[in-house]
């Protein structure tokens, strides 16, 4: 077997990029991200002008952070919205065009088939990322963002994409129709990305003794698998940050700070994004020794990915191994 390139991956790439829709979608994607990037730039200018006035050197760094965080949030949303669609039809599509059995009866292992599907989707996603790299790299020109932050942010995007892609392939291997596969893929993506926020609200409601975040109580587990929370946690260390800065990540960062034992008064008096500062109680309290959220997120995503790929491979395997003992004259198979 040629180990240099998974044949399924090679064919998928060939098919995907020959499709007329691919260049159209990439063009629209670049234009869309570019436009949003420009709007984010204008918004960052407005916020910086309010916060620092004109001509202040710190405004450049702030704008860099603002744009960087907004673009990461945008790309994470794109991952949630696009990746399930890229993988949902991967296996069920083979069934529908009657090529599935043809693959099953070859020397390919089920895992090779599944991984070929996953990597082809990821290669397309990487193309989408690379195509908007200039827009995403814009914050580096303003300063205030380290290359390490960029790499960590891209890493979390890729991990989330691989995890959602694996779920999509698992659902595709189980589904009997394209519609069911797509519904399954997006259901899981929306649960992880958005329903977990609602679950977090419910958890806070039931766990909290009062109107404050239960920082010193139980862990709020629903935020752990959330891709936005995981990314913010990985990019911005709450213990090392200067507190809320009025940038897009503040929405999530405030949760992380509370979780580590700081108080932002966010849940108490509702100061809100941009106005939060470490409260007096929080400054005096020792930070909790809780591992950062991103560690849980990464662990959970790796586990989900492994289970989803394993489940998909089991579904892709031809069911010839399920044999019951023979009843009758031959006594067994």
């Amino acid at each position: 077997m040629n180990r240099s390139l998974n044949p399924v991956l090679g064919r998928e790439i060939k098919e995907r990029f020959r499709n007329r829709r691919a260049p159209v979608f990439v063009t629209l994607w670049v234009l869309g991200v570019g436009l949003i990037g420009y709007l984010v730039y204008l918004l960052a200018q407005l916020v910086a002008r309010d916060a620092f006035g004109f001509g202040q050197a710190v405004a450049g760094g702030f704008m860099g952070q603002f744009i960087f965080e907004a673009m990461l949030a945008l790309l994470m949303t794109a991952v949630v919205m696009i990746v399930p669609g890229l993988t949902a039809l991967s296996i069920v599509g083979e069934r529908e065009r009657q090529t599935f059995q043809l693959l099953q009866v070859t020397q390919l292992t089920p895992l090779q088939i599944v991984l070929g599907k996953l990597w082809s989707s990821m290669s397309y996603f990487i193309l989408l990322l690379v195509s908007v790299a200039p827009v995403v790299a814009l914050p580096l020109l303003f300063g205030g963002v380290r290359l390490g932050d960029v790499l960590v942010g891209i890493g979390m995007l890729m991990l989330t994409a691989i995890m959602l892609g694996s779920i999509g392939i698992w659902g595709s291997a189980r589904a009997r129709s394209s519609r069911g596969a797509v519904a399954n893929a997006y259901l899981w993506a929306f649960i992880l990305a958005f329903i977990t926020f609602a679950a977090m609200g419910a958890e806070l409601l039931f766990l909290s003794d009062g109107p404050t975040f239960p920082a010193r109580g139980r862990e709020v587990v629903s935020i752990l698998p959330n891709p936005y929370v995981g990314m913010v946690s990985a990019v911005v260390s709450p213990l090392g940050s200067d507190g809320l800065r009025g940038t897009p990540f503040d929405v999530v960062e405030v949760l992380l700070m509370e979780r580590q034992g700081f108080s932002s008064d966010f849940f108490g008096v509702g100061i809100g994004v941009g106005g939060g500062v470490l409260g007096a109680d929080g400054e005096q309290a020792l930070p909790l020794r809780r591992p950062p959220v991103w560690m849980f997120t990464v662990g959970i995503y790796l586990l989900i990915t492994m289970l989803a790929l394993r489940g998909a491979a089991r579904r892709v395997r031809a069911p010839a191994s399920r044999i019951r003992p023979m009843r009758g004259r031959n006594g067994g198979s």
């Binding site: 499709n19 090529t99 069911p319 067994g332």
Partner: protein
């Protein structure tokens, strides 16, 4: 034996697809598996191709059990299902190249293998053609080429001639004959006997999930000695009465009226034929009584009698 199935059972819920199927395909044979729709042909082929589990029995293909050593079976086997499976944007060359790759053919050899196979199935002139633009016959030949990319010893072809025009059928038969000359063992299924009669060295008749008869073609033809197809011409007014009379005879099968004549298959020897004729003449004036030796079609009809087959 290249393929051996012993007492193989398969059920789909409460429906029994295979009820103790026995099948033996010798190495180098072109084995025709004939049976009506729903007889269990495809189920048997899926099981021996390692694509379907069985509920009982023993299966050996190229010395390996498909359920325990599927990779070995797949290395020796080229499977062609009864449907086309094509990728939208690949041409004929790329299609075969892809399947050669997934079958483990080294990249350095693939170009030669694919070129040779396209020549074998007479599709060299369609090397750059999108597979979706090929005719049904061409697609079928391309599918056959796909089964050959890894040089298997055994080909399992499920209804390969289904839906082909007469010219495409002739081409397919020639191709199968050529593959037989190349030493391949071929298991080929059909519900149309005429498709298999001229190309098979062996044949099995399957119905209701069991093999009713199998063996070399010559032996099967020999088993039919004594059976004959009979045509009776009577007056138009006597056709229905004649049909009732012969239809009631215990040795008669598949009695029907064809172009004003009563036709049926009669089992038994010349005495049986003479007695039936005498009985009939006693009831209605018989203008003509024509008999001819029974063929495989009669065997098929007799073995699958009462199942609404064919």
């Amino acid at each position: 034996m290249m393929i051996s199935l012993e007492s193989v059972e398969k059920r789909y819920g409460s429906v029994t697809a295979l009820g103790g199927l026995d099948l033996a395909v010798p190495q180098g044979a072109v084995f025709g598996l004939i049976g009506p729709n729903g007889a269990g042909k495809t189920t048997a082929m899926l099981i021996l191709s390692s694509l379907l589990s069985r509920d009982g029995g023993k299966v050996t293909v190229a010395g390996a059990d498909p359920s325990r050593d599927a990779r070995t079976v797949r290395r020796h086997l080229g499977y062609m299902p009864d449907f086309f499976g094509f990728y939208d944007s690949l041409n004929a060359y790329e299609y075969l190249d892809f399947f050669a790759a997934v079958q483990g053919v080294p990249a350095a050899k693939r170009r030669g293998v694919v070129t040779d196979l396209l020549a074998l199935v007479d599709l060299s002139h369609k090397v750059d053609a999108d597979v979706n633009t090929l005719s049904r016959g061409m697609k079928q030949r391309l599918s056959l080429a796909r089964t050959l990319v890894h040089e298997p010893d055994l080909l399992v072809l499920d209804e390969p001639a289904s839906g082909l025009d007469p010219r495409a059928r002739v081409q397919l038969r020639e191709l199968i004959a050529e593959l037989h000359r190349m030493g391949k063992t071929i298991l080929i299924s059909s519900h149309i006997l005429a498709e298999l009669e001229g190309i098979c060295t062996h044949m099995g008749v399957i119905d209701d999930g069991v093999v009713k008869a199998q063996g070399e073609m010559a032996a099967i033809r020999g088993a039919m000695t004594g059976s004959r197809r009979v045509q009776v011409r009577v007056a138009d007014a006597d056709v229905d009465r004649t049909l009732d009379l012969v239809g009631a005879h215990p040795e008669v099968a598949e009695a029907a009226v064809e172009r004003g004549r009563v036709e049926f298959v009669l089992a038994g020897d010349d005495d049986t034929s003479a007695r039936l004729l005498a009985d009939l003449v006693a009831e209605v004036p018989v203008y003509e009584w024509r008999t001819e030796a029974a063929g495989l079609e009669e065997l098929f009809l007799e073995l699958t009698r009462g199942e609404g087959a064919a």
